[in-house]
């Protein structure tokens, strides 16, 4: 028989995980519903997911493609592969934060695991990423860019990104519940970071001092780990793999610990 004893439960770090597993069907349903709601009423349906990055790439390629013609052949592929990783990170974290800050009302009405919304947001972002990869493939075929065995590394890259995004979303969502302007501050920071990360331009155009500073930007290695197998057609070097894995796991661990240790206060704060 089920028992609930508030004075006698596993530590929050473990308890939250157990509860999430118990409520896994809720997470799947939430992801399904987000997707259904978003695309049900539009005529083009799921094709919006494909069309959106395609249009974005076309516009930016027309604008900047000629500028990097010599250093970046097949600019569209360089751009879109970086953009997909970037969008996955930023859109998912923003979405997770806003569902927590504005849509978390359910958490104070009925018991569900506190991280449900965040995990569902990451699941939704992951599906968006996978769908947009197919629009990337369309461009690759169109430009007859080679697809090599390096693509086999891509699932690992996506896994690293997902682990990072989940941890980052947990950190940001906790902050956004305690300080509602976190959402706005993050928005501004992201806009600045977009131009400080080599997505639209090659890292080689930066002066040496600036390139040094770039190593402090954690997004750089996350974009790279995803872009290298697609654009450069070789495996990421071992340093890049280790660094990005470390970054992802440390982010998830700290996000998970912070979130679960504050989870009990969420119903009071929301």
């Amino acid at each position: 028989m089920l028992e609930y004893d508030s004075a006698n439960r596993p530590p929050p770090v473990i308890d939250e995980f157990i509860q999430l597993v118990r409520y896994r069907d809720l997470i799947f349903l939430m992801v399904e519903n987000i997707l259904k709601n978003r695309y049900k009423r539009s005529v083009l349906g799921i094709f919006w997911m494909l069309l959106n990055p395609l249009l974005q790439t076309i516009v930016l390629t027309i604008a900047f493609g000629t500028m990097f013609k010599s250093s970046l052949p097949n600019y569209a592929i360089y751009l879109l592969s970086g953009l997909l990783a970037w969008n996955f990170i930023t859109q998912t974290t923003q979405y997770a934060m806003s569902t927590m800050a504005y849509g978390g009302g359910l958490l104070k009405r009925i018991y569900i695991p506190r991280a449900t919304y965040i995990v569902a947001a990451v699941g939704n972002g992951l599906i968006n990423l996978l769908v947009s990869i197919s629009s990337l493939v369309i461009i690759i075929i169109f430009l007859s860019h080679p697809i090599t065995v390096a693509w086999l590394f891509l699932p690992v890259s996506i896994l690293i990104l997902t682990i990072f995004v989940l941890g980052f979303a947990l950190l940001l969502s906790t902050a956004s519940v305690f300080f509602t302007d976190t959402v706005d501050i993050y928005q501004v920071l992201i806009q600045a970071l977009f131009f400080l990360t080599p997505i639209m331009y090659p890292a080689s155009i930066l002066p040496a001092e600036l390139a040094q500073l770039l190593t402090l930007n954690p997004f750089v290695i996350l974009i790279e780990i995803f872009r290298v197998p697609i654009y450069a057609n070789h495996l990421p070097d071992s340093g890049l793999i280790i660094n990005s894995m470390l970054l992802a796991f440390i982010t998830l661990a700290s996000g998970w610990i912070l979130f679960t240790s504050r989870a009990d206060q969420l119903a009071y704060r929301l």
Binding site: E3, Y4, D5, A7, D25, L29, R109, F179, D264
Partner: protein, 247 residues
Amino acid sequence: MMNNTAIELNNVTVRFRIPHENIPTLQEYAIRWLKRRSVSYSDFNALNNISFSIKQGETVGIIGANGAGKSTLLKVISRVIRPTQGRVYLRGRIAPLLELGAGFDSEMTGRENIFLNGAVLGFSRKDIAERLDRIIDFSGISDFIDAPIRTYSSGMVARLGFAVATDVQPDVLVIDEILSVGDADFQKKSAARIFEYNQNGSTILVVSHNPASIRQLCAYVIWLEHGHIKMMDLVDDVINHYSSLLP
């Protein structure tokens, strides 16, 4: 602890912290910190050292003025908030009828929402699929089950929520205000179901402002005032005292 205890609270305190000024943003917080002005808080105990124990199968009413702590008590029992101090113990599955249709998504159909609401209540998809027909049947809105919930009347939404939440007999049933779900027919049907569950051993917890309906349904009553238990006894004793204080 007796073996047939359904709910037990030991010295439960729930404390809310109320900041004197409103500082929900990091910006405000930073400004205050720079000015070396600390943020002042005051604490408010919504529940104060509450202890009681309810045996399996009992029907217990909770009465008290607005702000006495009734909702907080139900929330702490149904696990929505964790007590600041003390211990809450609950045996079995709890069905909170406070929030009928919690998690309903107005864009989705009634059928999809049965699954969603069921998952919010902790049931697996497979569970719900097996009981889907029975739930739709009880709700009495099978003609509209594939229409989006936004097209439903509030009565229909509540009926669907009630049907999902009570489809399986819970060990503890928590009810806010005696149910007034849907039309007279459905009210009769839902009351009958609650009565039947109680006969079969479900513990029932009811919050109400209406002494008459408490008297009708409950054997015991907890009277809350300012987060304390003012009185807890057999229904007639408490209601007589309570009513004598009402104007």
